[in-house]
Amino acid sequence: MSINWTNYCASGLHDELIGPGGGARVAGRALIRHLSELGSQELGVRQQAAELAIKVMGVTFTVYHEQGGSIDRAWPLDIIPRIISSREWNRIAAGLKQRVGALNHFINDVYHEQRIVKDGIFPLYIIASSRNFRPNCVGINPPQDCWAHICGSDLVRDKDGTVYVLEDNLRVPSGVSYMIENRQVVKRVLPELFENTAILPVDDYPSQLHETLVALSPRRERLPEIVVLTPGIYNSAYFEHSYLARQMGCELVEGRDLAVQDDCVYMQTIHGWTRVDVIYRRIDDDFLDPQSFRADSTLGVPGLMRAWAKGNVALANAPGAGVADDKLVYTYVPDMIRYYLDEDPILPNVPSWRCAEPEQLEHVLAHLDSLVVKPVDGSGGYGMLMGPTASQRERNHFATQLKASPRNFIAQPVITLSTVPTFVDERIEPRHVDLRPFILSGPKTYVTTGGLTRVALREGSLVVNSSQGGGSKDTWIVDIEA
């Protein structure tokens, strides 16, 4: 049975593949033609093949289980890809590089002279009240003055087609391994498409990451010892930690494998203790070193901060980089770009109200039924108020919270995320998506080809987080001129 796209209803939405008239957008023409030829039944067969491949490949993510344990779930992938033309992507990639460049300037400035505060661009109170500002990072000079070597920024497209940056994840962003594995799976189940379309490859990331990490090594004379530091097997992103270690050919360590001696870091191996040069850590600051941060952390390494501060080991991302991973700080990123780079921002922020500023708070309180309210340090889509769909009680509850701790919230208009055709219950229907590209900073800046597209599988839902029933899609950057 062939697919009838006239029934595909994305009215009032921006669909990434189907234009307003019901015809395929240029970059997606070959795909739409191919899907129509396949028909929905065959598409179902391919979808099942993809799910089987994911199971066999062991691509999983971990969800915490009610009974205190945790379970491995097969990674949810919808096989219909999301397509962006290379011309549009080049502009987005340039915007991301610009943005992360400014953010790294900002973090370095925050831990040094704080020029941006002195020049009146950025208010001091935000730093003073930041949960992720680390006083023990002040004055430290990490290699290349770079703090956020790995950044995952979330992009959304509104119904008018504009791409916005929704947030920048500068602590331990995850998802890149799924981006690569999604491509592997889709290549397996839709191979004929790759023969006829110029789809840019995505699997360059691990070697780029490795290069970024090598450049951080404090010792130049030999091959540096690089490790990936994971909280352990029950972390929801453990699959990714293991995946990246494997792809880069380096050890996947836990805190208990490491020890600090004479302000140098060593790992325990069958040969005895071996010096470590660079740690790609996937543990939050709080748990990194019980001597510097949370004393009850068993995941970290006592003395690690001292070793890092002395420059004997490199940490990526640097401790303290999370100061910029704050949605109130986010509202200043366009200002940072102008201030540090003297450029106009290429990618816009989602318009945001700072609840910390009294007039803006007033506006937010008066328009709670049309706004989204977000905690400044939240992630995973938790702790938000979706004004239009919330009950009056929920809105009242949030109003109380907003008045009590305005610093902790920002508000934004509801963005009607763009949609992509998605295979649901034997049919193709529009579902909302976002996009998380990853940006590597070092001697040079690298942006992934596309990123991880997350899709809200429930009809009408805007929540794409995999912990809350979201799925994912392969993301194609297609060179249509070729």
Binding site: V56, I233, S242, E251, E254, D257, I270, G272
Partner: protein, 336 residues
């Protein structure tokens, strides 16, 4: 290689080998029971003793009938030595080892684990049990082949081989012990005709009948079979062969002098044993003492290469020297 990873590799390999051998153990007992006249059938409880899990089993307050024992050995997750537990532990360990195991091996392992869990109910029915156990044995053998064929001969491979061979030696000794279970009255009147059947069965359970024939060229006899399964240097499931493999791989590791000393002790103990004159209780005791040697070698490996035990799993080796009480299967899951 990280000490913790070394420990996980070693245990992964032990658990895989254990699952396979547990399948062999159950199969050999089932076959044996079919071959023996009713008055000599040793029943199933012997398997509980041989795997050192009497206490655990007694706590179940089951009658010790076939169904109870088979369920306990195959599917009981509270029995750390059951096939299901071994497979689960192996998978937990493998999950932490994806960066060192070849991808194909991981994929196959994953497939096999899923299949075992799925088909478990079949294992509990008498009719389909043999096939299920056969599938496990074949699956594990395939994994072994994939490791041989795709994995570099690096430290990770060495650790896998150490675990496999030590576990195999231990399990072979336990499978031999099925024959020396007290319930089997070797000198009972009228039993002699069945004596040969038992040893034949033992060889078959180790996939060793053909190889025995090729190497021994004599009729199947007790002392010749014992010689073969304990001391043969060519048959890969014979205890001494396994120990020599352990020695070979230990030599590839740094700092192995201490463990090699313990290993030498185990080998010379086996070498010196006089098998021809051994009666049933004597064989039983020999195997007990042999297993103590295995534990000493294991402890040497653990002390030299693994993280201090505070960091590892709470399941520790409990050796009891009490008479007729077998030591339980040692375990060391991924320390999580």
């Amino acid at each position: 290689m990280l000490s913790r990873v070394a420990e996980n590799l070693y245990w992964l390999s032990r658990y895989l080998e254990r699952a396979e051998n547990m399948a062999r153990l159950v199969n050999v007992n089932a076959n044996l029971l079919l071959d023996l006249p009713p008055e000599y059938r040793p029943g199933w409880l012997a398997l509980i003793d041989i795997t050192g899990s009497r206490e655990l089993f007694d706590a179940r307050e089951k009658r010790g009938e076939e169904r109870d024992v088979v369920h306990f050995l195959i599917a009981d997750l509270d029995n750390p030595g059951s096939i299901l537990s071994s497979v689960s532990f192996a998978r937990e360990n493998a999950r932490t080892l994806r960066d060192v195991l070849p991808n194909e091996v991981w994929e196959h392992m994953n497939e096999l684990f899923m299949e075992i869990k799925e088909k478990l109910p079949a294992a509990l029915s008498k009719r389909s049990r043999f096939h299920f156990l056969q599938r496990i044995i074949r699956g594990m053998q395939t994994l072994t082949g994939e490791l041989e064929g795709t994995m570099s001969r690096n430290d990770a491979f060495t650790l896998l081989m150490l675990g496999r061979n030590l576990e195999r030696a231990d399990m072979t000794s336990r499978i031999i012990d099925v024959r020396s279970a007290q319930l089997l009255p070797a000198d009972a009147p009228g039993f002699q005709p069945f004596e040969t059947i038992q040893w034949l069965n033992l060889l078959k359970s180790l996939s060793g009948y053909q190889m025995y024939r090729l190497s021994q060229r004599t009729r199947v006899s007790r002392s010749a079979v014992l010689e073969f399964v304990l001391r043969d240097l060519q048959f890969p499931r014979a205890c001494l062969f396994c120990l020599k493999e352990v020695e070979h791989f230990l030599r590839a590791l740094p700092r192995s002098a201490g463990v090699l000393g313990s290993l030498e002790g185990a080998c010379s103990f086996l070498d010196r044993a006089t098998l021809e004159t051994l009666d049933q209780p004597g064989l039983h005791e020999l195997i007990d003492r042999l297993q103590v040697h295995f534990i000493v070698v294991h402890e040497g490996i653990a002390e030299t290469y693994f993280p201090p035990s505070a960091g590892s799993s709470g399941l520790q080796v409990q050796f009891s020297s009490e008479e007729h009480q077998k030591m339980p299967l040692s375990s060391g899951a991924a320390a999580i």
